[in-house]
């Protein structure tokens, strides 16, 4: 078969404008040779595209979806591992950053404790909230002033705490025996305490 002319290739590629197309089709109707050349080119393309009808092992297509689903499962598992492998260094970095940049605990907090106690007692009506805050205050105070887990009666509290003794006992003692309540507080109460502590720390 001789080389296909660019004119025919242009026609087959639909690259001709309307005028060129009309001229080509006029030429085509007048030339048997051009008709044969075009028919041969079209036949060649048809032969190429006929591979779409190639007979294949149909079992392949029957198994395709189950195999793809297995791949999906593998990807899912790999995705979890991948996420975990990403989470570990992130967590490690977060811990390092926390230890490097976390605010250092205030050493002398007696004034803050005092302010906190007063603030809580004067402004918070919820006895649970008061109790939990005082729980922390009491424990920290006892560590600072009385040394560890000593009995309440032997604990020295910061000076100038304006809380009557019976009130202090009734609140702090409850907190002392129920230390875990801070962890069990509802979010709202906990946030309230957190807010108050933050404000006091800023003073």
């Amino acid at each position: 078969m001789k080389k296909i002319s660019d004119e025919i290739l242009k026609y087959l590629s639909d690259m001709m404008n309307d005028r060129e197309k009309r001229e080509f089709e006029n030429k085509l109707s007048a030339s048997a040779e051009l008709k044969t050349e075009l028919a041969e080119a079209e036949q060649m393309l048809n032969d190429l595209s006929a591979i779409n009808d190639t007979a294949v092992n149909e079992q392949y297509f029957a198994n395709l979806l189950p195999r793809a689903r297995m791949k999906m499962e593998q990807k899912k598992k790999f995705g979890i591992v991948k996420k975990m492998s990403f989470a570990v260094p992130v967590l490690a970095s977060a811990i390092i950053v926390f230890f490097l940049f976390a605010p250092k605990p205030v050493q002398d907090i007696s004034e803050q404790h005092q302010a906190l106690v007063n603030d809580v007692l004067e402004n918070v009506n919820d006895t649970d909230v008061v109790r939990k805050v005082l729980d922390d205050v009491y424990l920290e105070s006892s560590m600072m002033y009385g040394g560890g887990n000593e009995m309440l009666g032997e604990t020295e509290l910061p000076e100038n705490i304006t809380v009557s003794e019976d009130k202090l006992f009734s609140i702090v003692d409850l907190a002392y025996t129920d230390y875990s309540t801070l962890q069990n507080l509802p979010d709202e109460d906990f946030n309230e305490i957190y807010e108050k502590l933050s404000k006091i720390t800023l003073q």
Partner: protein, 182 residues
């Protein structure tokens, strides 16, 4: 290709009907495979791409926006994956990761069993190998997938004029090769 039916199937799948996905796959799996096969020229790569496309379809079908036909959306995935596979193969060649065994393996596992058909496919592949990847992509879509320039334009994001020019050059190379061999 019936869009309404496809859209219904997608809606059913998104609502949790796994069977709808199976129907979609059954409808399009051969088109996906043959597009990949004609782009890549052999079975193993085509199989890898076909499976990848099914996985992507399963994961992304929930984000289908119903603005285009489903087959256009699928062709976008399969043609992009095929081009990526060609790039990967080129890289493997550059770094000599590709073993001669792989070609033998591809022939052994081929789903085309008839020898005459295998030879025909091999001939087509040899003529397509002469084309740069993008020209091959357009030639495959136009000649084998029977897509219009407008459809190819929607899939590839290229202008119809540019596609026509690319197809013209691809056609010239392929016909020249076939003529030489004949």
């Amino acid at each position: 290709m019936n869009n309404t039916n496809d859209f219904e199937l997608i809606e059913r799948f998104v609502a949790g009907d796994e069977k709808a996905f199976n129907i979609i796959v059954k409808k399009y799996q051969k088109k996906i495979y043959w597009h990949a096969r004609q782009m890549l020229g052999e079975h193993l790569d085509a199989d890898e791409v076909t499976q990848e496309v099914l996985v992507v379809m399963y994961q992304k079908l929930k984000t289908f926006n119903f603005q285009s036909a489903l087959y256009t959306w699928i062709y976008k995935i399969v043609t992009t994956r095929s081009l990526n596979q060609i790039k990967r193969r080129q890289l493997r060649k550059i770094f000599s990761f590709e073993h001669t065994d792989e070609k033998e393996l591809a022939v052994e596992n081929d789903i085309v069993e008839d020898i005459a058909n295998k030879e025909k496919l091999e001939k087509v592949n040899r003529s397509l190998e002469k084309l740069p990847a993008k020209q091959r992509q357009i030639f495959v879509m136009r000649n084998f997938d029977q897509l219009s320039y407008e459809e190819i334009s929607e899939i590839t994001g290229k202008s119809v004029g540019g596609l026509k020019a690319n197809y013209f050059h691809a056609l010239r190379k392929v016909t020249e090769y076939v003529n030489e061999k004949d």
